[in-house]
């Protein structure tokens, strides 16, 4: 919060949309704004009523550059919007930079619902959060507005100011997402991959990455790294020869070159060149030596090798046949600096892929530097 108990001293607030952005139809702006208020109303006793004229508690407007409040906007990019903490006059008002491209739900632009929900957090008395993934984190990241659930950090913040919604104590609500603790070795990772020399570890909607610049893994939303990418992925691998990273979820595969989606993806597994019977990929790794991709399937107990250039499957085996000592199902896999790491639950098995020799058994947090 902003501190000093800076909040509205009433539960029923009014808002007015002063003008509209040309980026979206008016009905979509109205809907985005209304749903953004509901994000906060759902978890508190606050109610929001729209006014069409006069002065409302929260005045909402779109403007460019200098727009009359001594905090000019800066053209496209960087600052998207700002809002004022609760007070009379300009207090509570939210301004959106109309040099941005606002959208209803597309990741090609800034989803107005997400930006507005964040700004209304300020309008109600919340400052920025340093929790990546929180709505009040100052950096924009795309997430699907249809499945948006207010993260726990934001719920705690707003309820510290206005209390809980007594009529709707979230019993029937989906639980706000709790950020997984990546250093908890009992946490089963969804996937691990390299990308351009860094390692990326996936769990639910989050990705942690290690690089030489940082001692601790840096957490981000998957969608802030790769807009349009799925969350809770099944598997991932990088092909450094084509500079592409692939994500598997269910029967689909997504491809990204750096942070940009590759045209033509997502594809079905069969379009990718895999057998039609496959419903999902459990883990994946790309072997730099042979250029082959290992895809772990059928509950992580079998694998096939796949030639990405020819889009064909070359071989099919039991995991235990090639990887000595691996009797459990494979949950994630990665090759980094010549070593092959196969994850199974809490543990990670380090192999020499050439000989199939098991080199070490490590806790699954080993590569994270926890």
């Amino acid at each position: 919060t902003f501190g000093n108990n800076l909040k509205w001293n009433k539960k029923s607030l009014t808002y007015r949309i002063v003008n509209y952005t040309p980026d979206m139809p008016r009905a979509q702006v109205d809907d985005s704004i209304s749903r953004a208020f509901q994000v906060w109303a759902r978890v508190t006793q606050l109610t929001f009523r729209r006014l069409n004229s006069g002065t409302a508690d929260i005045m909402i407007s779109f403007g460019r550059r200098a727009h009359g409040d001594y905090y000019p906007f800066d053209g496209p990019g960087n600052t998207l919007a700002h809002a004022f903490a609760p007070s009379s006059g300009i207090g509570g008002d939210a301004h959106f930079d109309d040099d941005e491209n606002f959208t209803f739900q597309s990741s090609r632009g800034f989803v107005l619902f997400l930006v507005a929900a964040h700004e209304f957090g300020h309008s109600l008395g919340l400052a920025h959060s340093n929790v990546p993934g929180a709505l009040m984190y100052p950096l924009y990241s795309y997430r699907n507005p249809d499945t948006f659930v207010l993260p726990q950090d934001d719920v705690r913040g707003i309820q510290s100011l206005y209390g809980r919604n007594r009529e709707d104590p979230m019993i029937d609500e989906p639980k706000p997402p709790i950020t997984p603790d990546i250093c908890d070795s009992s946490l089963e990772l969804d996937a691990v991959t390299t990308m351009q020399g860094e390692m990326f570890f996936f769990k639910d909607g989050y990705v942690w990455h290690n690089n030489s610049q940082s001692n601790t893994p840096q957490k981000s939303l998957i969608t802030s790294f790769w807009p349009g990418a799925p969350t809770s992925i099944d598997a991932a691998y990088e092909n450094p020869m084509t500079d592409r990273v692939f994500f598997f979820k269910g029967s689909k595969v997504w491809a990204f070159s750096g942070n940009k989606a590759v045209q033509g993806y997502p594809k079905s597994l069969s379009e990718f060149g895999l057998p039609r019977f496959l419903r999902k990929i459990d883990a994946a790794l790309h072997d730099a030596q042979t250029g082959k991709t290992f895809l772990f399937i059928l509950g992580g107990r079998y694998y096939l090798t796949y030639d990405e250039n020819r889009k064909t499957v070359e071989s099919f085996s039991w995991v235990s046949q090639t990887f000595n000592g691996m009797s459990n199902k494979v949950t994630a896999a990665v090759q980094s600096r010549g070593s092959t790491f196969i994850y199974s639950g809490d543990y990670m098995y380090m192999y020499d892929l050439g000989s199939g020799r098991l080199l070490r058994v490590l806790k699954n947090t080993y590569l994270l530097g926890c």
């Binding site: 902003f2 960087n78 600052t79 809002a83 903490a85 207090g91 930079d97 941005e100 700004e119 690089n211």
Partner: protein, 81 residues
């Protein structure tokens, strides 16, 4: 390859820190002793975003500065009432 920080990046970073981390102009010779205000504010920013705290402008810090964001300053003392 190591990304080069250009003079333009330095200016961009200074404007960013003034805007969002309440960086104020150095005043007089005494302000030049010890850690520079720019370095102090860079450290604050790096700490907030969970970056490696170096107090210097590096490629990772610059990347975060250039991401689309909300225009309310992150500095806790900034008040908007």
């Amino acid at each position: 390859p190591v990304s080069k920080i250009t003079e333009e990046d330095d200016i961009f970073a200074e404007v960013y820190l003034k805007k969002f981390f309440n960086l104020t102009e150095e005043k007089g010779p005494s302000a030049r002793r010890g850690i520079s205000p720019m370095s102090k504010k860079l450290s604050e920013m790096q700490k907030f975003f969970g970056l490696r705290i170096t107090g210097t402008l590096d490629a990772d810090t610059l990347e975060v500065m250039k991401k689309p964001r909300c225009g309310v300053p992150d500095e806790k003392v900034a008040r908007f009432s």
